[in-house]
């Protein structure tokens, strides 16, 4: 009862849901045979490129591979503060 009241007020997500989400992520990488360093490298290089256009914190970037049906999707979540002014004529 205590647990369900807590959940009602959104204090703690079910650990079974967390398990499922974590598993989906890691299994997608396992299946694609993604090298452990691949995601970190991609993360850094992507951040380097994006830094030219946005102002954001590198640590806030979340990247993951997801399976949707038979295809895989790379999802990047990048909370940015603002766009850089990239138009030199202005």
């Amino acid at each position: 009862m205590n647990i369900s009241i807590k959940r009602l007020f959104g204090r703690k997500p079910k650990s079974s849901n967390i398990a499922k989400q974590r598993l989906k992520l890691v299994i997608t990488q396992d299946r694609l045979d993604v090298d452990d360093r691949f995601m970190t490298r991609l993360h850094h290089e992507l951040a380097e490129v994006l830094a030219k256009y946005f102002e954001f914190s590198v640590n806030s970037v979340q990247m993951s591979l997801k399976q949707e049906g038979n295809s895989y999707v790379l999802v990047a979540d990048i909370p940015y503060k603002k766009f850089h002014d990239t138009n030199p004529r202005r």
Binding site: R7, S16, N17, A19, K20, K24, V26, D30, R31
Partner: protein, 264 residues
């Protein structure tokens, strides 16, 4: 020609051997001829789980080394008709056996039995390749926790690569109470991740421990939930269409009743 089925999991300790022992016994109780094969060379356990450890004379290694005939190496289980065990050698290791040798043994056993159940060792190395070499089908055993499921997914990939089909799932040590409280993934979560067909769900049952202590497979005890689950699984293996029952989330009172009535 009988069916050769490898029982595997990737991760150790999820119930491969218990499942092999119970499924094999259950199939024999249904009137089928069954041989259970321990493929865990060097770390054999199917014999002790089945209570046949004191009766082993020859092993699959003796057959490969032509020390004895295959039929002579089979240990007959006297409690039920049609059930025999082929033990693994305890003094060799997995590299002493070639996948082709195991395949030849399984195929020969398949000529004279309805079912050949091969108990695979944990891991993805030679022991697994030996165990799955002759298999037509696979049963993957997992528990609903992240490490077992991740390893199961890896094994499923290897089985698919080897062209073994169908691959069915036994979800073991399932606790409706924990699912109810949100602490355990349910069958839909697991199937959504692994994407294979469900052969059955075995609830967490303390009877498994006591039956292993005694060397009497659980399926001999009709009343236990684990036994009933394995009997249903055996019927499904024979092609009967048995629905997978919703495991009820038992309340406090029935837990107490259960605690008192359980054969401990």
């Amino acid at each position: 020609m009988g069916k050769i089925i490898v029982v595997t999991s990737g991760k150790g300790g999820v119930g491969k051997t218990t499942s092999t022992a119970n499924l094999g016994t259950a199939l024999a109780l249904l009137g089928k001829t069954v041989v259970v094969v321990d493929a865990d060379v060097g770390l054999r356990n199917l014999d002790i789980v089945m209570g046949l450890e004191s009766r082993i004379v020859y092993t699959s290694m003796d057959v490969i080394e032509k020390q004895c005939e295959l039929s002579k190496a089979l240990v007959k289980d006297r409690r039920v008709d049609g059930l025999t065990l082929l033990a693994a050698s305890q003094k060799n290791n997995k590299d002493d056996m070639q996948p082709e040798e195991m395949k030849a043994i399984c195929e020969k056993l398949g000529e004279t039995h309805d079912y050949v159940l091969v108990d695979s060792p944990a891991g993805i190395e030679r022991g697994f390749s030996n165990a799955s070499a002759g298999a037509d089908e696979a049963i993957v055993v997992t528990t609903p926790d992240v490490s077992a499921i991740r390893d199961a997914d890896r094994i499923i990939g290897l089985l698919q690569h080897a062209g073994i089909e169908p691959i069915n799932l036994i979800l073991n040590r399932f606790s409706p109470q924990l699912v109810g409280s949100g602490s355990m993934m349910d069958q839909d979560d697991v199937l959504d991740i692994l994407n294979i067909d469900l052969l059955g769900i075995v609830p967490e049952d303390p009877g498994v421990i006591t039956s292993t202590n005694r060397g009497i497979p659980l399926v001999y005890e009709d009343a236990s939930p684990g036994s009933q689950a394995y009997m249903r699984i055996a019927r499904r293996v024979t092609g009967q269409r048995i629905p997978i029952p919703e495991l009820e989330q038992r309340g406090f009172l029935s837990n107490i009743v259960n605690w008192f009535t359980r054969n401990r």
